[in-house]
Assembly symmetry: C2
Homo-oligomer: 196 residues x 2
DNA sequence: TGACAAATAGTACGATCGTTCGCATTCTTA
DNA sequence: TAAGAATGCGAACGATCGTACTATTTGTCA
């Protein structure tokens, strides 16, 4: 746990920042190293290949998502409160100052959704887990009596994911200041249709 | 209006195909020219710069969207039938064989949403017009008595856009065969909440 | 403190990027 | 059909890409 790991952390933080703006392919070893005051070869040695760098960037982003969105939601009571917390955390996530280009996972997903390889595999798995988490939250809401018993948890996950994507798009591309409000109204409608 | 325009069409068709898979930056003049059996410089001469090539790719994609999604919808009667046609055409659009990487406009939007420049400007305008079209369709549905008078057309546009994005994501990244069904159920719920 | 390992820098490589320029070919049309 | 414009090719440019190798510095610990 020496100096190497510390440097790698510094590299990955900046790398996530760049990847959120320019994508995983737009992220370049030369640019990254010069912005950090490191040599290209010195930085490269930490990862061995660009593929590996990209994978670690994704890994870092996913960990940060779980830390800032998932884990705080888990501290809320099961059922609708937890779902509500998850949703609100997720909206804030899109404005993380450490990711000036928006969610790097969304960016990478669009970039790699048609290119087989380890990046795509990693992203697919991460998304699958995210979906499962949402579906499980819905299931707990059913058990808690907040949601009706005939609510389809997977359908709920789909709609929640869609609203977040719509928010991301409206917020970042259209710069619409009402994006958050729009997303909340839409989600509230979904919630209303699920309630017991 | 001779041979030049014809070649340019051929170039742009293949360019859209590549851009849908690899993004606008991943689209490279060398690859594009060799796949078409043209010389790099000969192809380049048609556009003068990569920026211009990218812009024309976007222009081509938008024109195709209007031809395959918007215009057919306009042939349906105002109100809910037109909205329904718009939605269904849009879902089919994501599977256009000429765009094996999915909607290039979605890809480019994520790619350029934080990079100022003519590409971003073009995309923002295109999206604005798409939103306006959806909102107008909702307004016509209100006038036709299909939708309640207190429906917010802009909110409707947001939710429709979100569902299409969710479908795109679930379909292309997760390869979930139920993506279309999920999107239809979600949209039906939105429609139900709007009906008079 | 000295030896060994870990971390970083330096340099160079082949490939490819977007772009320029001059020349050949092909079209159009007077 | 001859002239001129439109179109396309070939070669080359400087820059940058990811990567490989060899030094040199820095850190760790017996």
């Amino acid at each position: 746990m020496g100096k190497g790991a510390e440097t790698r952390e510094r590299i990955l933080e900046q790398a996530v920042r760049l990847a959120s703006r320019d994508g995983l392919e737009g992220l370049t070893i030369g640019t990254l190293s010069s912005e950090l005051g490191l040599s290209k070869s010195g930085l490269f040695a930490h990862f061995g290949s660009k593929d590996e760098l990209q994978l670690q960037v994704l890994q870092t982003a996913v960990e940060r998502f779980e830390e800032l969105v998932i884990r705080p939601a888990l501290r809320a009571p099961r059922g609708e409160p937890r779902i509500h917390a998850l949703f609100e955390n997720w909206l804030v996530w899109a404005d993380e100052e450490a990711m000036p280009g928006g969610c790097p996972i969304v960016a990478a997903s669009v970039e790699f959704d048609d290119r087989p390889g380890p990046q795509r595999d990693f992203l697919a798995l991460a998304h699958r887990r995210r979906f499962d988490f949402m579906a499980k939250a819905a299931r707990l809401a059913i058990e808690a009596g907040h949601f009706r018993a005939d609510v389809d948890p997977d359908q709920f996950a789909f709609e929640m994911d869609a609203i977040v994507l719509g928010h991301h798009h409206t917020h970042r591309m259209l710069r619409d200041p009402k994006a958050g409000e729009r997303a909340r109204i839409a989600f509230e409608r979904v919630l209303a249709s699920c309630r017991a």
